[in-house]
């Protein structure tokens, strides 16, 4: 058998097995994405209730709470970057990291120090490969985030926020994640988590917030509410990121599978051509040999 044919055969069989992997990953992503979207939807009532409560407290009291007051000078900012644990999701992690780099540059240009917090092994690998510092990393389960993880991240960030600048504390907190807009569009997004910008414009006149009584005191209520609000924002971001990751993976695996099919077709044609060329050559050698004997 000709060397050329053997090479093509090898290429065909390896591409076929790769295609099987792509197909399997595509199917897995497709089956998980529905669940991820359902979880995004399931977390909405909590997020809405908590947002409403925070704006209720904020709108009727001149709140003077460290979490909501803008510091005079912002010297250090924390950035939480949410990426995936695994690759094979197209440009998903890369575009989040690109967005984070942009934010990083912007903050530095404003004369702030940046402290980075990472979620996902991809972000960790990116930072470690470049020998860059990061404060903390959380890995595992990025495609199905747990509320406990969000709580842990929230607690860690709040602790940093409560610390003074001289003790390594931060004055503001940003989150970079991928917003799930639809199955085909996911958008890397930056939100500022702290200090809070309480959204009051969402309240229309028809649903003016009532004058609440507080139990025990407005301040204590806020003390208890704000960490929950932060946790729920982080959790929401993680859920959106998970849905985006799966959607990106499904798309990437679909096109990888299609490309593999194309390649297999191409190599099959080349193999057939090579085989035919070999047969033709053998035939002409035989004919030429017979002719030589007859002559």
């Amino acid at each position: 058998m000709g060397a050329q044919i053997r090479v093509y055969r090898q290429k065909i069989s390896s591409t076929t097995s790769m295609r099987k992997i792509f197909k399997a990953m595509e199917l897995i992503a497709t089956s998980r994405i529905g669940k991820a979207r359902a979880r995004v939807a399931a977390s909405l009532p909590y997020a809405n209730a908590i947002t409403r409560a925070v704006s209720a407290v904020a709108s009727q009291n001149e709140i003077d709470h460290p979490l909501v007051t803008e510091p005079e000078q912002i010297r250090r900012a924390a950035v939480l970057v949410i990426t995936s644990d695994r690759g094979l999701a197209g440009s998903y992690s890369a575009s989040v990291l690109k967005q984070a780099e942009g934010l990083n540059e912007l903050l530095r240009a404003e004369g702030k120090e940046v402290k980075t917090y990472l979620v996902g092994r991809k972000a960790q690998a990116y930072f470690e490969f470049r020998g860059r510092d990061y404060a903390r990393v959380w890995t595992g389960g990025t495609d199905a985030p747990e509320f406990a993880t969000a709580r842990e991240i929230g607690a860690a960030l709040l602790e940093e926020f409560a610390n003074d600048f001289v003790d390594g504390g931060v004055d503001e907190i940003h989150v970079v994640y991928t917003r799930f807009k639809s199955m085909v569009t996911q958008e890397p997004t930056v939100i500022r988590l702290l200090p809070l910008e309480v959204e009051e414009q969402a309240v229309t006149e028809s649903e003016l917030l009532p004058l609440y009584e507080f139990e025990p005191e407005a301040e204590q209520v806020l003390d208890a509410l704000l960490p929950r609000y932060i946790e729920s924002r982080i959790f929401a971001a993680m859920l959106q990121a998970a849905a985006s990751e799966l959607a990106a993976r499904q798309r990437a695996m679909k096109s990888a599978g299609d490309n593999a099919t194309e390649l297999i077709k191409k190599y099959t044609r080349l193999r057939n051509t090579a085989r035919q060329a070999e047969i033709t050559q053998e035939l002409s050698e035989i004919v030429a040999g017979a002719d030589a004997l007859n002559a």
């Binding site: 009532p45 409403r52 929950r228 729920s232």
Partner: protein, 94 residues
């Protein structure tokens, strides 16, 4: 008689909603009972049990481990970190 419109949500899922005659909750200051027509309130929940008396059916007990709840215009929204529907029989609140 007016009714309370109760909604219980946990961090990652919806727990229960329905009409109720009364809601009994434990705040950090002590127990509080909410009847229809209660003035707007925003309170912190202590870990423990909530009792809900639905308009029809058995009294419900919900175990929560912290959170808060708001009352306005006969609408009670209970936001718990973790909430679990318990059996009315084991509630032990009368």
């Amino acid at each position: 008689m007016a009714e309370l419109e109760v909604e219980i949500v946990a961090a990652d899922h919806f727990v229960w909603s329905g009409a109720a005659k009364m809601v009994k909750a434990r705040t950090s200051d002590g127990e509080i009972g909410i009847l229809p027509g209660h003035s707007p309130l925003l309170a912190i929940l202590a870990a423990g049990e909530l009792a809900i008396e639905p308009v029809s059916g058995e009294r419900l007990a919900v175990v929560v481990d912290g959170g808060f709840f708001s009352v306005d215009d006969n609408r009670v929204v209970i936001v718990a970190d973790n909430a679990q529907l318990g059996e009315a029989a084991t509630a032990g609140i009368r």
